[in-house]
Amino acid sequence: MSTTSTHRWTTVVGLGLSALLFTGCAGQAPAATTAPVAQSAEDFDLDQLISAAKAEGPITIYDSTSKVEDMAAAFTKAYGIKATGVKTDAAEAIEKVTREAQAGNVVGDVVAISDLPAVKNQLLPNNFVTNWVPADLAPNIDASMQEPLVMITDPSFWTYNTEAFNTCPATNIWDFTTEKFTKKVAFQDPVGDNGALDWYSQMAQFGDQQLRDAYKEAFGEDLVTDKDSAAAEWVSRMAANQPILTKSSEEASEAVGAGGQDDPPMALMSSAKYRNIEEKGYSLGVCEGLVPWVGKASPKSLTIASGSKSPNAAKLFVHFVLTQEGIEPQISDGKISANSSIKQPEDAAHVGKHLNEIFQFDNAGLETDWASREIWQDLWRTSAK
């Protein structure tokens, strides 16, 4: 009897330990799945989609803003399908979507993720999420915003303190690299921020000529650089000009806009922070006419989890947030819908007025963005003084 019980114990302990090792490995190594499924709908019928959606169960939506709760509630009100919005930031959403797909236990049916390179290079190829563009709305959505589908873009503006200055102290984006702006630009620390790195990469791919033209306008001569692009030269000079590094747009808005400053810095900040004019009495103004762009707009993608148990309800939600009614909670503070037929409401930063002066991302660059993040990080780190 004693031998069997000893034996039993060894087995139990052994099993326990091997189970541990197994879970340990499974935590990191993901399994590759089948190729992506192409989605298109030539003969799109909204009514058919609505009736199919109503036959399905409730849906859950992941988005990085708490406004998703209002959007889900509005969807439930409009169609009678229960929807739950869960505030989940990009990194979390990617992690959750990946693990849920691997386990075959999909919780988030619709996912809005601002990290487009990750969606394009990680979630779509592994078929964890599916891209679906409503055919009836597709003509209003720029081709560069369809793969993956962009829900909104989040504009940021070069901003100055309207209390200390009558007009914007800069006229050209290259001004920020000069001595006049040494220690006078508040800048989100790019080594911890994917959005900034992708912006550099996008400028290098799609804004090179504009940056070179702007350089000539600022300094009266052609840009000569040993870097790969004008953007790389600009980033490198920015890093060397000792910007005030901030952890968030909120900090930047305080650095620029707080009252009683003699010589406040300028900063690139999200349009949503212009609400601080009202809330906190900050003095913030968009740097009108800055060459070549007064700001940039970062996209947020909207995809459907491939393993969703309510695919039609999920599609209907995607359709819903591409309409004026569905996206209202997000565009009311200055976000821009990808559907160009939607009317931009008035906001504190007057986004509608600047739509054509903002640098827009192009989905065609997403592979390069993904592959070059470390390169941009390293460029910033090695150029900083």
Binding site: S2, T3, W9, V13, G16, A19, L20, T23, G24, C25, A26, G27, Q28, A29, P30, A32, S66, E69, V86, K87, T88, A91, E92, E95, K96, R99, E100, Q102, A103, N105, V107, K183, A186, D189, G192, D193, N194, L197, I244, L245, K247, S248, E250, E251, E254, A255, V256, A258, G259, P264, R275, N276, E278, E279, R373, E374, Q377, D378, R381, T382
Partner: protein, 610 residues
């Protein structure tokens, strides 16, 4: 009913002439501590070992989405991350410089904390310092405040124009603090020292109280001066306590993130925990894993040094007999200066930081001390202009939800931690299989060495999906409670071992020979006897759980918001008044919890350090 079972167990204590390995094995297996030990090993294997292993594996396995960079498919082994961290053009920036910074900042703050803490502990325990009982509690307060609150208070007072924005208090008073004082290593070291000094005071006062009086007495009779007795008798006897205080502080300083994040960034001052945060926030999990592994290794090395010295020291302390009451040293003309020094420490480490924090919640514009600038709106106001949080902190439902979540989740986690700690202690002290106890001690200490951020990421990966019989835990309160339990085990198991060592085996054996089963003995004999130790073992996890941030910030969801995550959400919105008010409430809860435990169970924080 209980008559049948004890027959089997009784063989444990029964002496037998049989000495074959098989017989020994049978004894080992029949002891309830063995079964309990294996069970605990499984629990902690799941809660601690599995996440740690999965974290460390990330350093040598190709992560998801890195296939192109590493030139291999996900999950295969790679040296890419090691290369990038240790021998790439940016190694200096992302690794070696932060490593050096981490080491010297941790060392400096450790030395300062010892230099301040040891004399103060001596003053509190061995002298006739006025109000020493009161100071003994009051000086511990900084340990109950989250370290990053000191950083917030520091920037409120000392921030300067190099960061633009609102003025610091010093600036409004007409003096602009220089950069080295406002940001970077100096404030970080000062804050670490302030935060760790109470820890030294706790450990050293405990050791001083337990020191045998005879040696000191003998030296006194032999004509040694007070100075000689301190350097030649007391200090050598304190060596074990000093060493463990030093290593525990060192290991904690390596992982501390919030302070370096708030004060380091404006000065471009990087430590390992801030580069770890950068890699986590840009989804470079492989790089993060390598850096986390280095941090774990550093903590592990310092711990091994500690153990080695301790083993030598033990030979020397076991000479002592029972402790006797030691005479207090009269301070005579030094009484007033000593009181002044201790009061100064209290002012700097408690009054100023807490006062700054409280004041910042009642002033509209920071630094403007005119009467009309003061308001109670941020506490009890309605319809404030801050749209995202338009009610005062005390009248907002969101605050009370977070308070309730914090109290029940942290309370439950602390209770579980305390119980598990005692069970670990039971196995370590009673199990005939020594290796079982050692394995448990090592595993339960691991979380102390793993940076909270990295630990939380590992938890997210492991528990976001169902595994075997356990459902997906992300978004539930369970995952928060589990990770809090795991993270607080180090001290709880130390306290458990200490408590069990003090508990003689006789009473339990008596109950056993009367036929009481293990479960019954646990309930009626062991637990009641260690009730006060259990309260102590619960107290420290509660205090540090209430203020813990890095552990829960990734895992908390809107439904499971805690007070610390609420204050971070408010900081993200830029509502610093409300954020600071929530922090003040966190401190209040930690203090209240400590006070209540002390009153109810007559236990104290010092006991929970084990």
């Amino acid at each position: 009913m209980a008559l049948l079972t004890p027959q089997r167990e009784r063989s444990t204590s029964a002496k037998s002439t049989q000495d074959s390995p098989r017989y020994r094995a049978r004894i080992i297996l029949r002891h309830p501590a063995t079964l309990l030990g294996v069970l605990l090993l499984l629990i902690f294997g799941y809660l601690i070992l599995a996440p740690v292993i999965s974290l460390l594996l990330g350093a040598i396995q190709v992560g998801f989405g890195d296939e192109a960079k590493a030139g291999a498919s996900a999950g295969t082994l790679t040296g890419y991350y090691l290369d990038r961290v240790f021998s790439s053009p940016v190694s200096d920036i992302i690794f070696y410089t932060p490593l050096l910074n981490t080491l010297w900042v941790s060392l400096c703050s450790m030395l300062i904390a010892l230099a301040v803490g040891v004399p103060v502990a001596w003053l509190l325990v061995r002298t006739d310092l006025p109000a020493r009982r009161w100071f003994a509690s009051a000086l511990i307060v900084p340990y109950m405040l989250p370290a990053w609150t000191f950083a917030l208070a520091w920037t409120t007072i000392f921030r300067n124009r190099s960061n633009a924005g609102q003025q610091g208090w010093m600036e409004t008073l007409g003096w602009e603090p220089p950069n080295w004082l406002a940001y970077g290593p100096v404030p970080i070291i000062v804050i670490f020292s302030l935060h760790f000094t109470p820890f030294v005071i706790l450990l050293v006062s405990n050791a001083l109280k337990n020191l045998p009086g005879q040696l000191d007495e003998a030296a006194r009779i032999s004509g040694a001066s007070a100075q000689q007795r301190w350097w030649r008798v007391t200090l050598p006897l304190l060596r074990p306590a000093l060493l463990s205080a030093a290593t525990l502080m060192f290991a904690k300083a390596i992982g501390e993130f919030g302070v370096a994040y708030v004060l380091g960034l404006p000065a471009g001052f990087q430590v390992l925990s801030t580069t770890l945060h950068q890699s986590i926030s840009t989804q470079q999990s492989g790089i993060a894993a390598v850096i986390a592994a280095v941090m774990v290794a550093l903590g592990g090395i310092s711990l091994m040094v500690d153990l080695r010295f301790l083993r030598e020291a033990q030979r020397f302390t076991t000479l002592n007999g029972k402790a006797t009451l030691t005479q207090t040293e009269p301070l005579i003309r030094w009484r007033i200066p000593a009181l002044a020094v201790v009061s100064l420490l209290f002012t700097i480490s408690v009054l100023i930081p807490l006062g700054t924090l409280v004041l910042s919640t009642v002033m509209r514009v920071p630094g403007d001390f005119s009467v009309q600038n003061f308001t109670a709106d941020y506490w009890i106001g309605h319809d404030l202009p801050t749209v995202g949080f338009s009610q005062g902190v005390l009248v907002s439902a969101a605050t009370w939800r977070a308070v309730w979540n914090t109290v029940w989740m942290v309370g439950l986690a602390a209770l579980c931690t305390g119980l598990l700690g005692l069970l670990v202690g039971y196995v370590v002290v009673r199990s005939p299989l020594r290796q079982l106890g050692t394995a448990l001690r090592v595993i339960t200490f691991m979380p102390y060495l793993v940076p909270g951020l990295a630990f939380a990421v590992a938890y997210l990966s492991l528990f976001a999906v169902p595994r075997g019989p356990i459902p997906a835990l992300y978004g539930t309160a369970t995952i928060l409670i589990l990770i809090m339990i795991a993270d607080e085990m180090p001290f709880a198991s130390r306290a458990g071992v200490t408590a069990m060592m003090q508990l003689g085996a006789e009473s339990e054996e008596a109950a056993q020979s009367l036929g009481a089963r293990f479960g019954y003995r646990l309930r009626t004999v062991i637990l009641p006897m260690v009730r006060s130790s259990l309260a102590s073992a619960t107290l420290l996890p509660f205090v540090s759980g209430v203020q813990g941030l890095s552990l829960v910030i990734i895992l908390a969801t809107p439904g499971t918001e805690l007070m610390t995550t609420l204050s971070m959400t408010l900081i993200d919105f830029g509502y610093s008044h409300a954020a600071n008010a929530v922090v003040v409430m966190i401190c209040a809860i930690a203090l209240l919890g400590t006070w209540a435990t002390q009153k109810l169970f007559r236990s104290n924080l010092a006991d929970s350090l084990g």
